[in-house]
């Protein structure tokens, strides 16, 4: 009989998102727990045998008690076996989120795999081999023991580990928590469920990252899913379905402007999703005239209200006051003198106050516009 389970990881419950101030930040935090509940509901619907959480369920070992409590509450819709693997964020230290969760009293269906011991709760159909991290950074490959781990005849061997597969992931400089890329092969695993990489990824034969179910960063990777895995037997190929569970879309937009701000506004309009579920990082570069800058800022204020969160980085956007801008200033006498001088400074890359001069020009421009308006 087939063994079916959900593979997920990197929930990082308790991640603060403090750079998103106020209610949107609180919303991001609480959504993570709602997404966990969504996974539980999906598991119940799909009637899987287990949910395997491949590490970093919690953002740190020092999350508040209430965060642990609310997470455990969110698991309730699925009464089957949950296997939690301690990852680098929630390593199985002497005192950890796991010891604290246990102290709160956990239901029997929740297994904390904080020891390298086979978990066999499915009458021999499957054996889960966990490789818990008991330090934040392990130097040795914690999955070594899988190779020699015993399992009943005919049982599907499923590895559960957290870390980076040696030599396969980009952006990984350090060599801690490394996992051999041929571990599935060596340990005769039907499936190696991995965590730590926040995108969904098949990285080696029978070796998968599920990615974070709720995206949490502006990174162009495939997060927001869980894997619904079916293992028909020890020899059969794994069948993996990706199921979307994430709520928020984390979008990073980089737009280079030249003179006008149209492209920025077009990029926002092209999001194609419910703006309320979008967390957007908008990075603008290039240069705009003062009038366009004014228009841009009005537009961004509008989008800020429309999106769940907009983080606009205008640091790379340079004001380039056009002749029209300055004409619009319509000034004579000393104001023109001051504007010309500020402009000269703004255009002098050697002037340490060039940026301040640019902003000063923008200010006088706005003052002028407001004066003209009222």
């Amino acid at each position: 009989m087939a063994f079916r389970f959900i593979h997920t990881a990197d929930w990082q419950i308790g991640k603060p998102f403090a750079h998103v101030a106020g209610d949107p930040g609180a919303e991001l935090r609480s959504q993570r727990i709602r997404t966990v509940q969504r996974i539980a509901e999906l598991a119940a619907e799909a009637q899987v045998d287990a949910v395997l959480v491949a590490g970093d369920a919690f953002d740190s070992n020092e999350v508040a008690d209430r965060t642990i409590f609310r997470t455990v509450e969110a698991l309730k819709p699925f009464g089957g076996t949950w296997v939690f693997l301690p990852g680098n964020h929630d390593a199985a230290l002497a005192h950890s989120v796991w010891t604290r969760a246990r102290a709160m009293g956990l239901p029997d269906n929740i297994v904390i795999a904080d020891r390298p011991e086979p978990v066999d709760r499915w009458n021999g159909r499957a054996t889960v081999l966990p490789a818990p991290l008991r330090r934040r950074r392990e130097v040795m490959d914690q999955t070594d023991w899988f190779d020699e781990a015993p399992s009943p005849e005919g049982s599907c061997r499923v590895g559960l580990a957290h870390g980076s597969v040696a030599g396969r992931l980009p952006d990984r400089g350090d060599s801690s928590n490394e996992i051999r890329d041929d571990r599935a092969e060596r340990a005769r695993l039907c499936y190696l469920a991995l965590g730590d990489w926040h995108g969904a990824l098949r990285i080696a034969p029978r070796t998968w990252y599920a990615g974070a179910p709720e995206p949490d960063r502006h990174k162009a990777n495939d997060s927001g899913h869980v894997h619904l895995v079916t293992l028909d037997g020890p020899g059969a190929p794994e069948r993996v379905e990706m199921r979307a569970v994430g709520h928020f879309a984390w979008v990073r937009l980089e737009v280079e402007l030249l003179g006008t701000c149209d492209k920025a506004i077009q990029a926002l309009e092209a999001l194609g999703r419910d703006p309320r579920a979008c967390v957007v990082s908008l990075v603008l570069k290039g240069s705009v005239s003062l009038s366009e800058r004014d228009r841009l800022e009005r537009a961004l204020a509008l989008w800020e209200a429309r999106l769940h969160h907009l983080d606009a980085d205008l640091g790379g956007l340079v004001d380039d006051p056009s002749a029209d801008d300055l004409d619009a200033l319509d000034t004579a006498g000393f104001v023109r003198l001051a504007v010309e001088r500020l402009r000269a400074r703004a255009q002098d890359p050697a002037d340490p106050e060039a940026a301040a001069a640019r902003m000063a020009l923008r200010m006088i421009y706005l003052d002028h516009l407001r004066g003209a308006e009222g």
Partner: protein, 873 residues
């Protein structure tokens, strides 16, 4: 604007006045104050600037005192190349008319047209005031008595400013510029205090960032402490697990139990040893006690025996002492009798001795002579014998050395003879009675042995011959002996003696003679120590003594005297002896008596002691017989031996169990168990404490808080960065505007300075007028590079500077196409003559481009001015 003709009717004190023929340049209007010179200026102001409908005080002010008339003023002027005619009538039926080649206006239109033409702002209501409503004319038309005061630019400022702007451009930026400056000021004030300290939201943001940083540091510290505590907890757990895994406490407890068993055994062995020791000591004491009892018994017996012996000896001694006492008694009695006899004999002997001694003294003298004579004779005889002996000694030739030589030779002979005899055969004979023996034919005494050194033939009677042949060497030895004998004989012969014995005898003789001679010599010396001659003299002397004594009665017998003396002596001796004897006998008796008494006392004591000891002994024996004591001693000795053996065995057993090792092991096991238990307790306690502490920290969610604060801090920092940029930009903007404005003002007043300078050069070289760039009022006067405040100048200087400045400003207005006439009403009354002539030059220069009306009451002052003069009456 150039004034051409003025006609005034019923205006204040002027009933009718016409001033005409006014030229382009300088014009002087002469008239004393009463003539209405200043009223003319007032009429000019009224026709141009007062609304014709004006009422109230302004209207009343135009009427002559106490009259109700209709003041009317006509003014012809050129402006903008055209000739204009203006007429206004006030108070009653007010009227206004303005006419130019291009049109004609009347009523209120006139007022509007005038304001437009001349650039002034008519008042809303009431009269027109020069400073407020008359534009540049308030400035250029100087009323009498005000020339030395401030310019009173007032509303003229706009016109001048406009004129300056046409000259130097829009330097000041106008209203818009001021608004932008104000906005920039406000922006700056949003971020900075007057002292350039941050303020407002920027400051609050900075403070929030600081506070967040502090919170972050605090949380990080707590988080790190938390982290450290987790490590501590892991270490405790690991240590506890190790204890459990290694069962260290169980091991220690087992060790301790084993050690306790061993210690119990050792303690029992030790206890056994102590008991054996105790028993041995008891046995030893018992044995000592038995021995003591036996010794005491022996001592008692000994004392009793000693007492018996002492008693017996004392009794015996006492018996002896009683015999002695009796003997001493008898002796004492005998001694008393003998003492009486001896004393009688002594008295008789004393009498006899006295008689004999008298005779003896004579006798002695005789005998002394006889003795000396005999002595002399003896001495003489001895001398003679000494001489004979010396002669005898001299007769003997042998000396001691010669004798020694002879004796050596004799010894050599005897030695060789002895050796010869030893090598010879000794033959002893034992013949049967009477049978003879001959050797080599010579009879041989059969009792003596015969020595044969050479072959000999012995004839034994009754037997026959016996030939004897002695062995090797005997013959040589016999010859040696013969040679030695010969040497001796030759020496003896030389000395004239037969044998060594004779030689010795001769030497004896000689020695005897020498001894005799010496003995005689000593005799002579004894008899006559002072020599024979002295003795002879002594004899002679004694003879003479005797001759002197003569013969006495009786013949003295020395023997009798001596006998008598001996008798007396004996008798005295006897007496003394007997006396001593008697005394001694008595003393001996007393002593014996005393000794006896003492002895008898002692004897009695000894008898008592003996009796007591006997009784004691008997009693003791009755209690414990001697045999029982012996038996007890034997028994105790045997028990002691047994106890010693038992103690030895116990000690050996204890030593075999090695108690030091047991003790040390016990100590070690105890300490180990305690240490491990304490360690486990401590670890457990610390673990629980850490768990509690970490639990508390967990509830707070330090990590979550820290991450939150860090995120917020990052956000706020970014915002602060933006705010900071805004602050810097606002400051920069404001500073840029202020700097630009300040520089512009400098440029702004440049034209005024340019226009003033030529006039001032005429008046006083190297001077300058300092104007306020906003009000355009005169602030000061610069002379030789030093600035003086305007109000500090002399009144004359003030009016001159003010007039010059007004002229310059009029020049500027003209340059801007707003040419205006300058009217000076007695403006130089405080100027001295010298300066006045310079001022005339100034006015001429000004008049080259301007129309200047000088109203004065002093015709004389301006007669030389070279300008047309108009007199009014």
């Amino acid at each position: 604007m150039r004034l051409r003709r003025i006609e005034v009717r019923d205006f204040r004190k002027l009933q009718h006045l016409v001033v005409e023929g006014l030229g382009d340049g300088l014009n002087v209007v002469v008239g004393d104050n009463e003539a209405g010179k200043s009223t003319l200026l007032a009429a000019l102001r009224a026709v141009l600037f007062e609304r014709h409908r004006v009422g109230g005080r302004a209207a009343q002010g135009m009427l002559p005192f106490g009259q109700s008339v209709r003041p009317e003023i006509r003014l012809d002027f050129d402006l903008g190349g055209e000739a204009w005619r203006l007429r206004k009538a006030f108070v009653q039926k007010p009227e206004a008319e303005l006419e130019s080649p291009r049109g004609r206006w009347s009523g209120d239109e006139v007022e509007e047209k005038l304001a437009e033409l001349l650039g002034f702002t008519p008042p809303g209501a009431g009269g027109s005031k020069p400073g407020e409503h008359q534009g540049a004319y308030g400035l250029l038309w100087v009323q009498q008595g005000t020339a030395h005061e401030a310019l009173g630019v007032g509303a003229g400022r706009e016109g001048i400013a406009a004129a300056l702007e046409t000259e130097v451009g829009q330097v000041l930026g106008g209203e818009r510029g001021r608004a932008l400056l104000t906005a920039a000021e406000r922006r700056r004030a949003d971020h900075w205090t007057k002292l350039d300290k941050p303020r407002g939201p920027w400051k609050e943001l900075r403070e929030e960032v600081e506070e967040l940083e502090a919170r972050q540091a605090d949380l990080r510290r707590r988080w790190e402490a938390h982290d450290g505590k987790v490590s501590d907890l892991a270490a405790r757990q690991e240590a506890l697990a190790r204890h459990e895994r290694e069962d260290s406490l169980g091991q220690a407890q087992r060790d301790l139990a084993a050690a306790r068993v061993a210690e119990g055994q050792a303690a029992r062995l030790e206890q056994g040893l102590r008991e054996a020791e105790g028993r041995r000591k008891l046995a030893a004491a018992a044995r000592d006690a038995a021995e003591g009892r036996r010794a005491a018994r022996a001592a008692l017996v000994g004392r009793r025996d000693a007492a018996a012996r002492a008693l017996a000896s004392a009794q015996e001694e006492a018996g002896a002492l009683r015999g002695v006492l009796e003997a001493h008694d008898a002796a004492a009695r005998g001694a008393a009798g003998r003492l009486a006899e001896a004393r009688g004999a002594r008295d008789r002997a004393t009498e006899r001795l006295a008689a004999g001694e008298r005779a003896l003294r004579r006798q002695e003298a005789r005998e002394a002579l006889g003795r000396l004579e005999a002595q002399l004779r003896g001495a003489e005889e001895a001398e003679r014998r000494r001489r004979v002996a010396l002669a005898g000694a001299a007769a003997v030739a042998i000396t001691a050395a010669a004798l020694k030589e002879v004796e050596a030779l004799a010894q050599a002979r005897d030695r060789t003879l002895a050796r010869s005899q030893a090598a010879s055969v000794r033959i002893d004979f034992a013949p049967d009675d009477g049978r003879a023996v001959t050797v080599d034919g010579r009879a041989q005494d059969a009792g003596a042995p015969v020595w044969l050194a050479a072959d000999a033939e012995i004839m034994l009677e009754g037997f026959g011959r016996l030939r004897v042949r002695p062995g090797g060497g005997a013959g040589d030895l016999a010859r040696e002996a013969e040679d030695a004998g010969r040497a001796l004989a030759e020496r003896l012969a030389a000395l004239g003696v037969a044998d060594p014995a004779e030689a010795r005898a001769a030497l004896q003789r000689r020695l005897a003679c020498e001894g005799e001679a010496e003995a005689q010599a000593r005799l002579v010396e004894a008899l006559a120590p002072q020599g024979i001659e002295a003795l002879q003299a002594a004899v002679a002397a004694q003879r003479s003594v005797l001759d002197e004594v003569g013969d006495g009665i009786g013949e003295a017998d020395a023997a009798v005297v001596e006998a008598a003396r001996a008798d007396l002596h004996a008798a005295m001796g006897t007496v003394a002896g007997v006396e001593a004897e008697a005394k001694a006998a008595e003393a001996a008796r007393v002593a014996a008596d005393r000794d006896l008494a003492t002895l008898e006392g002692r004897t009695a004591g000894l008898a008592r002691e003996h009796e007591a000891l006997g009784a004691e002994l008997a009693e003791a024996r009755a209690a414990v017989p001697d045999e029982a004591l012996e038996a007890a001693l034997g028994q105790a000795g045997a028990e002691l031996l047994a106890a010693e053996a038992a103690e030895g065995a116990a000690r050996a057993a204890l030593e075999a169990s090695d108690p030091e090792v047991v003790r040390l092991e016990m100590k070690r096991a105890e300490r180990a168990e305690q240490a491990i238990r304490a360690d486990i307790d401590r670890l457990g306690r610390e673990k629980r404490d850490l768990e509690v502490e970490l639990g508390a920290l967990g509830r707070e969610g330090v990590g979550e808080q820290l991450a939150e604060v860090e995120g917020l801090l990052e956000l706020r920092r970014r915002q602060l960065g933006l705010r900071g940029q805004e602050a810097a930009a606002s400051k920069l903007l404001h500073e840029a505007l202020v700097a630009a404005q300040s520089e512009s003002k400098d440029r702004w007043l440049g034209p005024v300075r340019e226009k003033v300078r030529p006039y001032l050069r005429l008046l006083q070289p190297d001077t300058d007028v300092v104007l306020n760039e906003t009000t355009l009022e005169i602030e000061g006067f610069r002379r030789d590079g030093r600035e003086e405040a305007f109000h500090d100048l002399s009144i004359g200087a003030r009016e001159q500077v003010a007039v010059v400045t007004r002229l310059a400003l009029a020049d500027i207005l003209r340059g801007a196409g707003r040419s205006a006439a300058v009217i000076l009403d007695d403006a130089l009354v405080n100027t001295d003559e010298a300066r006045l002539s310079r001022m005339h030059l100034v006015l001429h220069r000004a008049a080259e481009n301007l129309q200047v009306l000088v109203l004065t009451c002093r015709e004389r002052d301006f007669r030389q001015l070279g300008a047309p003069l108009v007199r009014i009456r």
